[in-house]
Amino acid sequence: MLPEGGMGVEIVPASGELNVGPQHPGAGHMRIVVKLNGDIIEDVDLDVGYVHRSVEKLCESRNYMHLIPLVERPAILDSIHMNLGYIIAVEKILNVQPPERAQYLRSFAAEVNRIASHLYGLGILTVFLGHSTGFMWGFGDREVWVEILQALTGARVTNSYVIPGGVRRDLGSSIVEMTNKALDYTERKLKDWRSMVLNNPVLRARLENVGVMSKENAIKWGAVGPNLRASGVYYDVRKTEPYGAYDKLDFEIPVYKEGDGFARTLVRFEEIEQSMKIIRQIIKDIPEGPILADRFLNQIPPTRRKKWLEEQRRVVFPGYYASFRPPKGEAISRIEAGRGELVYYVVSDGTAHPYRLRMITPSYRLIYVFKQLSKGARYADLVSIYGSLDYFPPEADR
């Protein structure tokens, strides 16, 4: 007790609800209703859906080919993966196998996109924690890889690069040169990242031992991607069910045991290094050959085929793509997108539209993880849990 007349401060235990967002700089397009007791979070209610645009419903009224730009929209930072997962499911229904070179090109585009996506995630995490240099670096270094995607696919944001049976454009020598420069640049830059961001005492204090997810909980709550691997589970779709050219490439999956925010950041960081290793191998090993399956290639008139494919190295769509009708059936595909496992489930009834298309994005599966992980944390740590999960609201809402 303070002596009488002194500056006595009475601390009253207070509990209540606090609204975070949807316009809060640390909340994105999401409202978080936080039940507090003092500054300990008792429960979190995520009010998602501010950017919900009913992709699944719209898919029932559009042709398979028209859906490609639509399914990409939810995660515009990771659009190659969104595109690729959908196409793999459609290819399973159509029973088409893309040629070797197309498989390598798919992996190439996907890894470039993964680096860009992880740099975005790291940038957002650092700005949440008040480190604006990391934010600017993240977006600046990402630009290098977005430029490569732009040169390869012709689009900056939603690339629509992968099509049933192959890819749209070929890898030219100028892009290879550009990629080599980007690899050298990012290699240099990642050293700076380590000293400036990862070994930053403030960031480490905010991330270490915060939001700890044990291995059992990660499995039980159904976590995905880097968040799952930071909790000690060795699971990566590129290894369990290889797609693209991943079964021919040599790379490792970073796994950490700690399960805290810092481990999640490290997993993301090391995945960038692994992706660069993969890209180097692809540039070295990519086989020659067509970039579209013969079945579709033969439908293009021969003179046009020669002109487009050999001179300009790109595919002009055969008429088949306008409104093809795949046979009856269903297919489920999974790929490892930037934020984790992405699942597509397509049911076809033989018409030109899918009967039902289910899209399970990685962030969608993190909704429950985020809710559970925040319980018992301090209020100040809410943003560092949020940032370290790399939760992206539009991707969850779809």
């Binding site: 499995i219 699971y235 369990t240 489920i332 999974r334 699942v343 489930y345 399970i360 599966r365 429950y368």
Partner: protein, 154 residues
């Protein structure tokens, strides 16, 4: 697989070495099948999909389950398929068995109107609070198309 047939009398079909489809005719059985599979090491749910079949007046619910803990088992995706009728679209929740169904069950409830009995927090999730009308993912819900008119020059 064989054990599943002996215990519950249900058939499974292997589409490839990575995909197995199991059809469960009676929706009341789903909980027991799920418990059985969890003991075998299937530890999480990848997706729950509700599909509307208006001409047969029933919904199909497809669970895609797999494993994280076992690397060999993780190569497999099991799909459990069951049906609920229009008159009584309800099924037991699997929340106690696989807590990862939390989000999926809430979304299937809101979009198709299938009630998951025993779910701890069955509320709307994505739709706006003042949303009115039928459940949006049913086939009877029609998306309004905006027409585009272009004046032709004479």
């Amino acid at each position: 697989m064989q054990e599943l047939k002996n215990t519950f009398g249900i058939e499974g079909k292997a589409e490839s070495d990575r995909r197995i489809m199991i059809e469960i005719p009676d929706p009341a059985q789903i909980r027991k099948v799920a418990e059985f599979l969890r003991e075998k090491g299937i530890d999480h749910v990848k997706s729950i999909t509700g599909i509307d079949y208006p001409d047969q007046k029933k919904f199909s619910i497809v669970y895609h389950v797999s494993s994280y803990g076992d690397f060999e088992l993780a190569k497999l995706i099991l799909s459990l398929r069951t049906y609920v009728p229009y008159e009584r679209p309800e099924i037991e929740t699997l929340y106690e068995i696989w807590p990862s169904v939390w989000t999926f069950e809430r979304e299937t409830y809101e979009m198709l109107g299938i009630t998951f009995k025993g779910h701890p927090d069955l509320r709307r999730m994505f739709l706006p609070e003042d949303f009115e009308g039928v459940y949006p993912l049913r086939k009877s819900f029609k998306v309004k198309q905006e027409a585009l008119f272009i004046d032709k020059q004479a």
